[in-house]
């Protein structure tokens, strides 16, 4: 089913066009829930229209049964497994197990992202451009210099707020080298729409080179500004 996501629902910021295991899990969750919700919607509407238009037939079901079945026995068996799946999936998505992550810090400020790589001495800071290795977990630690922002790379996974006075963290994985769009998701002032950034996932070997401070390195990207 996720294949459906590749056609017209694609796009540089599309959560329906996942490019990492977490975003893929979230998209799969969405398609599953969509299928279930569509079925439920059709069921409830059919029952409603049946009761509305064919009361003679629908009246054979006593009210008690309507309420018990529709109100309790219908939702509970769906909600309980859904809740359990959400818990397991949430754990997997928020704390992916595996190799030692590549660490990055991101400071959000109106209306730019400043990325630095403290674990890689000598790496240059970059503005609105994030270099990461492909195929390896990346842990981004977020702070904010002014107001609340939200860090979001839809094709890799969910968002995390950057909150003044706090440090928040998110772990993401990109399957393959490439360029992914990122965007601030929390309203942060008049520049909010333009607070985009680009993520470049490099093959592990090429990462060091990308991080090296070349004279023209930290240039804000223009390739991936979706909200303009």
């Amino acid at each position: 089913m996720p294949l459906v996501g590749c056609g017209w629902t694609g796009g540089p910021l599309s959560a329906l066009d996942p490019a990492g295991p977490q975003a893929r899990a979230m998209a799969a969750l969405w398609w599953t829930m969509l299928a279930a919700a569509a079925a439920l919607f059709v069921l409830v509407m059919a029952l409603y229209l049946w009761a509305l238009l064919r009361p003679e037939a629908a009246a054979r079901v006593p009210p008690r049964r309507w309420i018990l079945w529709g109100g309790i026995f219908l939702p509970l068996p769906i909600l309980l497994p859904l809740g359990a799946a959400a818990l397991v999936l949430g754990e997997a998505v928020l704390r992916p197990a595996g190799t030692e992550p590549f660490r990055v810090t991101a400071e959000a400020r109106q209306w730019h992202w400043l990325f630095s790589y403290p674990a890689n001495p000598g790496a240059a800071e970059s503005v609105d451009l994030l270099h990461i290795p492909a195929g390896r977990p990346v842990e981004v630690t977020l702070t904010s210099a002014d107001v609340v922002h939200s860090f979001w790379i839809p094709r890799l996974g969910g968002k995390i707020d950057a909150i003044p006075g706090r440090e928040t963290r998110i772990v993401l994985i990109a399957d393959a080298p490439g360029s992914y769009g990122g965007q601030c998701a929390e309203y942060c002032g008049t520049g909010h729409s333009f607070m985009a950034f680009e993520v470049l996932a490099h093959p592990q070997e090429a990462l060091a080179e990308a991080l090296a401070p070349v004279p023209s390195a930290p240039v804000p990207s223009t390739a991936q500004e979706p909200a303009r």
Binding site: L29, F41, V61, W66, W152, I163, G165, E186, T190, R228
Partner: protein, 896 residues
Amino acid sequence: MTNPPRRQTASDATQTAAAAGAGVSDPLGLGSDPLALDAALRRIWATGPGWQRLAAVNHSIVGRRFMVTALVFFAIAGTLAMLIRIQLATPDSGFMEPGLYAQVFTMHGTVMMFLFAIPLFEGLAMYLLPKMLGARDMAFPRMSAYGYWCYLFGGTLLIVAMLAGAAPAGGWFMYTPLSSKPWSPGIGADVWLLGITFVEISAISAAVEITVTILILRAPGMSLDRMPVFAWYMLTVAAMMLVGFPPLILGSLLLEAERAFGLPFFDPAGGGDPLLWQHLFWLFGHPEVYIIFLPAAGALSTLIPVFAGRPLAGYRAVVAALVAMAFLSFGLWVHHMYATGLPHLSLALFSAASTLVAVPTAVQIFAWIATLAQRRPNPGPPAGPRAPAPVSAPVSVPMLHVFGFFFVFVMGGLTGVMLAIVPFDLQAHDTHFVVAHLHYVLIGGFLFPMLAAGYHWLPLITGRAHDGPAARLGFWLVFAGFNGTFFVMHVTGLMGMPRRVHAYGAESGWHWLNLLSSVSSFVMAIGFAVILIDAVMTLRFGRKAQADPWQAATLEWAVPALPPPPYTFAALPRITSRADRLEPRKIAPLLARGEGVLGLARNGWMETVGVTVAGGEPEQIVILPQQTYLPLWTALATGAVFLSLLFKIYPAAILAALVVLVLFLRWPVGEHAAADWGAMPATAGGGAMPAGEGLSLPLSSEAPVPPALWALRMLAVADGALLASLLFGGLFLALSAPGWPPPLWPALPRAPGILAALALAGAWGAARMAGRAAGRAAGRAAGRAAAPACVAALAGNLAALAACGWMIAALPPLQTHAAQAVLAAALIWLGLHALIGAVLAVNALRRLASGHVSARRRIDLDLMRLWQAGLLPAGLVVLGFPAMLRALAEAAAGAP
């Protein structure tokens, strides 16, 4: 400002002239001429023409005003929505610049939520409840009027600010620090904080009034389990408002204090925390969504049975479901904060609770389906107010909107369950997917049901019959336009379109969908225009409605005429079965002839019956206040307080607050309460008052628990919620904000703390003694007997107030750390309450002196006693708060 409402009694001295005639002309009203009775009651209840309309307090008038004003605000917010859709129709739109766009979406959300949705259902409830419950008016008509003026002035303030280009621009939830001074230096954020608080006063007063009305102003015999289900809904909603609105009021006041005086409640540099605002806001904001949905659901639970010609299926299950929903809704707020980095396990807890709300929702949905299924095969009455209904239409216009509700709300509910799931929400949060979801829920769960309710009760409210192809056309346009507008937003959201962006690039892939959405929104707007024009035409040219056009089964249709006269019922019915299975057609003529309880006009009194809470046994005759300008003046003075705060003219604010106080002190005057009617010989018009049907009841001024005491109890709930939010806020900061414990603990001197505790205990003891002394004394001696104790209570409160001032003065500069700022806030709460205690004592002294207090009439003393009894424990908690805060902060710091 939220002085306890006191005695609600007539203020018009001329009314006593009538009392000279010693009361009842025709005690039982039986056999009297219905026309004469109607004329006599109209004379007493009517609102005067011209300027006197500003003095209206009647629930039908005030309820209508609420609804009409809410619709005006809907039109304003709808226009703003159209501007949003124009802006987003094409990529790289230059229609609005980002600052203006921010004002527009902020005002759209704010006006829709605070100035449209809440006031609309308040107005409907105010209009319907007395009629459904078999009462002549709400319990506190002047509170209704005061609430209306506060709403109108607060709302106007916001709109005027917007027109002046100074609208708030931080989004309808005004997250800090974006809304804090450094990032919102203008006046816009202050307008939001103060304007909304002003409007919230109206909401709290409506909530108090709705609860008390439902609890005690019902027809004799209408026990709780016989109430029409709409009353259960509104009781639940009003209770939720009492608990749910105070966190926002508190948050707004704290943020305004931060903006105006630099108290760092939300500033991490000073021990504050932006997350505190988010918690306070959503602690209000989530229940708010249910507060908006439930009245609409109550309307559905009322009109679906009418259409089906059967009582609601599963009355008890529905009541249980809505109470469950009310409780659950207070445990869900964190699902708006999944992306703030809270531990996953606690998110999972809130996630589970959020999905569980689907159960009580489903119970109601299936109760409605079951009701429809039991529908009488061939519903006797035509589907419209006039026979014959169009043959082609299997459903009436209200039921068409009920269809809209089912279709849209079920979908919104399903996406709601999706959003409750943490991993999915982390993608969808803050995107247009959420915009889609919230409109599916609000328009499906509120707007369509309210339109259904509008068509259903239009004949009652306007006296005009309604039928119409135009109404059907309007519905289909709105329905199609709505789905076209919002369905695609699910997709744009998942394709990465964040909410609140004013522009987007063409490469995003969102542009066709956005164009579709914008075009559809104009279809929807045309639909609303059709509905509006049709409604106006109906009002102008519609035929007169016939009585009980839908063959309903609830009392609001048993009024003597459509629209109902100002006195509502000429006599109140005695209820012996469930009040949603009545036959208004049969009851109405009896009541109009005065056959029932209180089917009489005497002394110029506006009388209605008060009953016991559970059993609905008649207990007292409540005499309601005549029309008066007092609510208007009081609201104007309240507005002056807010304007002075807005423009930072603090002396003027204090002055205006004093005026408000003085005006409130004028509310209690009630001529009938100047005498012990119960102790007078019957020949003088006294004794227990005959109420018809062989009943004799005391006046509420002489009843053990008059409505005013109930009002104070309800207000105490809201007040307790306010204090609890404040204490929660402090403890939250101590536990989790950066910069704790403070470098220097704010040390408080012992002496004033002990003084305050003793003074509050003394005031409480004195208030009790005052009541006892008055109870023992005979006749007018009560005044002299109770006065010393009242003076003692006054002194106690003043001492407590002084002690609070002393402690606040001893705190280190409040701007330096949130610790002392929070302590100061708690002490200010306490000081203000001691001040109100002092005012209540002064009021009691005044009423003692004017002879309004006796062994039988002790309400002024009872209010004082109740106030002090609540203030003592609350005060001790506040006084213990500094130690609590310190212990917690140190424990948190000590923990690894």
